[in-house]
């Protein structure tokens, strides 16, 4: 098994229950605080799965000075758009037309690939045309086809007359190509005596008209509305039961008003108590359940498992009102309809506490840029992990020649170089805390050789170069700091030059313009399972070190705080602090 490359995950403070209570709340129990401090964050705890993020996933609120993860931001939708045609859909359309693209964007119901509109008729052979002839214009009918799995809408008997506005055409088509009647057409048809007689004749000859869902609902609704309007139609024999069950117009009108928005006159209905009869004909919305499933069984026998639609395919199917009755529907891949593309959104993110926007994308669908995007990476130090090999020099012989990706040898001290990079324009002070033993069944020993250090500000590279060249830029304070920094560098430099590659407690390994490297010594645990213990669980061999990081710096005070009077005095500096847990994943321990 390949060991993962070293990684760093940061725990968003929002997942810590103790920080959820208001920070300035004086009534917060202080007795538990000591326990809280002692408590070590366990990266293996099941909850940790939901709170650890790579630095790149995190945002930062400049006003609260706190990390914000995807779980603790409030989202607002900026635009709805179709991922296929990138057309922006106004939110007013969304209410009337639903959350799918209503142009000609469809996904394959079998493999979810994009569908293309193609002409069903074969094109005339171009070689037979005269060379000066313009290619003959495409003519219908058209079908939707998938270029990946070669699904075609002709398989479910659907063809289109026009190559555009497929969505509208599809809504009128049922599988097999029969048209779905609109409400108006249905009404006209019902009134039409010629059609009426035709259907009754059909019934007489034993052919009952199949109702689709929409028609059935419309028929039922019309039937019950008629019943309500005419209370005397009821059989008086059932009147005694009337007040309770569904046969009471009162309770029925209540149910109907839930679905239809209370357009029925409740009061009028209430005054009349009487029973109603149930629907008896297809015209009244009666649909006899088709319990004969022999056709489905036959199809199952001939097509086998491959012919049936899987759960994912059925879930993807858009609700279609024109579809067949519920019995015997949608179990085979041969009944699947094209899926209109689900719309997507662009969202802006707000800090849930101060309501400031911390991420806002450009509203235009075509651009991927952001107007505002406060990523945590530009506020908190990044941590890079590199195995440190101490092969040369008179360093400790215990250092194993660590290769990235190699398995860690149990009980053999290994060294890792942690490089902290400061992204902000202030010098920061970093304090690290790590438990001496990792939590879990197999406790590895961890020693952070230098848990306390400062990282210089992320000054401009060119500023640096100019200063080195003797240019006296910057104010007095800045120059002082610069001098201080150089002095420190010299001191540390002289020391580390004398005993290079010597691991010394309290000394940083290397320092750069805005970064510092320190060494962590790890003695991986042996993965030998004691008798009586359970076997090694999944990923129990991964060595992860929980580490508490506290970052302190002096920032410009005031101004951005709510309610504070902005002071023009630039020298007022305020101490800031940010603390969080992170997890250093070093790799897998070799199983002996």
């Amino acid at each position: 098994m390949a060991a993962p490359t070293p990684y760093t995950y940061i725990q968003c403070p929002c997942s810590d229950v103790s920080t959820l209570s208001h920070p300035s709340d004086p009534n917060s129990p202080t007795g538990t605080e000591a326990d809280e401090d002692d408590r070590t964050f366990d990266p293996r705890a099941p909850r940790s799965n939901y709170s650890l993020y790579p630095l790149e996933y995190l945002l930062y609120c400049e006003d609260c000075h706190q990390i914000r993860c995807p779980r603790c931001v409030a989202e607002e939708i900026v635009t709805y758009y179709c991922p296929n045609c990138l057309f922006e859909v106004p939110s007013s359309n969304l209410k009337s037309e639903g959350n799918r693209c209503t142009r000609s964007c469809f996904q394959c119901p079998v493999c979810i690939g994009p569908l293309a509109v193609t002409s069903v008729e074969t094109k005339p052979d171009p070689r037979l045309l005269a060379p000066d002839n313009i290619a003959a214009p495409h003519s219908g009918p058209y079908a939707l086809t998938c270029s990946y799995c070669h699904w075609s809408s002709t398989e479910v008997g659907i063809q289109f007359e026009k190559p555009n506005s497929i969505h509208a055409q599809l809504a009128k088509l049922r599988n097999g190509g029969t048209t779905r009647l609109t409400a108006k057409e249905r009404k006209e048809r019902r009134r039409d005596p010629a059609h009426r007689s035709a259907t009754t004749e059909g019934e007489e000859s034993g052919e009952q008209e199949d109702l689709d869902l929409e028609t059935q609902f419309a028929n039922l609704k019309a039937f019950y509305q008629n019943q309500l309007a005419d209370p005397n139609s009821a059989d008086s024999g059932l009147a005694a039961l009337g007040d309770l069950g569904f046969s009471s117009p009162t309770s029925l009108s209540r149910i109907m008003s839930i679905y239809t928005g209370g357009s029925l006159q409740d009061k009028k209905a209430k005054s009349r108590v009487g029973a109603m009869r149930e629907a008896l004909e297809p015209d009244e919305g009666l649909q006899v359940a088709n319990l004969d499933e022999s056709a489905a069984i036959e199809q199952l026998q001939s097509e086998g498992h491959d012919g049936t639609a899987c759960t994912a395919q059925r879930v993807d199917q858009p609700p279609h009102l024109g579809e067949e009755h519920l019995h015997g529907r949608g179990r085979f891949t041969s009944e699947l309809r094209p899926i209109p593309y689900l719309l997507r959104t662009k969202r802006s993110k707000r800090c849930p506490i101060c309501r400031h926007i911390i991420s806002k994308p450009e509203a235009k669908v075509q651009t991927t840029r952001f107007r505002i995007r406060l990523v945590a990476g530009s506020y908190i130090p990044s941590i890079a992990i590199r195995p440190l090999s101490l092969s040369n020099g008179g360093g400790s012989a215990s250092g194993a020649a660590a290769v990235p990706g190699a398995l860690l040898d149990p009980l053999r001290p290994t060294h890792y170089l942690l490089t902290f990079k400061n992204p902000i324009f202030e010098t920061i002070k970093v304090t690290l805390g790590a438990p001496s033993k990792t939590p879990g069944r197999f406790a590895s020993k961890v020693t952070v050789l230098c848990p306390d250090f400062e990282i210089d500000a992320n000054t401009d590279v060119w500023d640096e170069a100019l200063k080195e060249g003797g240019g006296g830029g910057g104010g007095g304070g800045e120059r002082d700091r610069e001098r201080e920094r150089r002095r420190r560098k010299r001191e540390e430099g002289s020391q580390s030059n004398n005993n290079h590659n010597q691991l010394e407690v309290g000394k940083i390994w290397e320092r750069g313009r805005n970064w510092v490297s320190i060494v962590v010594e790890v003695v991986p645990a042996s993965l030998r399972v004691e008798a009586g213990d359970g076997p090694l669980r999944e990923d129990e061999d991964v060595l992860e070190i929980p580490m508490f990081v506290r970052v302190e710096w002096e920032g410009e005070a005031g101004g951005d705080e709510v309610g504070s009077v902005p002071t023009r005095d630039r020298d007022t500096r305020e101490k800031r602090e940010l603390a969080y847990w992170c997890v250093l994943g070093l790799g897998r321990i070799r199983q002996s």
Partner: protein, 193 residues
């Protein structure tokens, strides 16, 4: 792969060329690789792209009419223990497309008429793929498997039947594609004679 091949079969003498039967209307790139000891036959109007590999070490290779063998596609590679010599190593029907980097292993493997072997797909030794099948990119057909006509193998081995009935249309399109390829690929069949 190649080291195994040499351990099982006698290495072809360096510089030797397999006997070829080329139709006069084929297009074969100069840099195509033809190796092996058994005959290689390519029928009329087929196109072999540069750096395609045809290896007849384990048996005869036959490419049908109007086939296209793309770059780095390999016909007749011998894998592992299946390195037995058979009468026919690989047989392609007419109108077959073997896409870039696809591999068809030797051992009486048959690809039916009008089938597309997708990019990076692999057809195991002795498999028989039917007519007008589509093997989508990176599909694997196990050795000895029989794939019925008009099968689409997609998405990690899922199968379905192609019901478009567009075979005729596709063949016409392929003919036009071959017309273009002929003008684009400098043919040098004499090199392999």
């Amino acid at each position: 792969m190649s080291s195994k091949r040499h351990s099982i079969l006698p290495p072809a003498p360096a510089g030797s060329k397999p006997p070829i039967h080329f139709s006069s209307s084929i297009t074969i790139a100069d840099s195509a690789l033809l190796t092996g000891t058994h005959p290689i036959a390519i029928h009329s109007e087929s196109v072999v792209h540069p750096r395609a590999r045809l290896d007849s070490l384990a048996g005869r290779i036959t490419v049908g009419r109007r086939c296209v063998v793309h770059e780095r596609a390999s016909l007749g590679a011998v894998v592992g223990t299946s390195g037995r010599i058979t009468e026919a190593a690989v047989t392609l029907g007419d109108y077959v497309i073997v896409e870039v980097g696809a591999a068809i292993e030797a051992g009486e493997t048959v690809i039916g008429e009008g089938t597309v072997v997708g990019v990076g797909a692999r057809v195991g030794a002795g498999a028989v793929v039917g007519k007008h099948c589509t093997l989508t990119p990176h599909t694997e057909i196990a050795a000895g498997e029989v794939v019925p006509d008009f099968t689409v193998v997609y998405s990690n081995g899922m199968r379905r039947t192609d019901k478009r009935g567009a075979a005729e249309l596709r063949n016409k399109g392929l003919a036009r594609q071959i017309d273009v390829l002929r003008r684009m690929i400098p043919s040098n069949p004499a090199k392999f004679a």
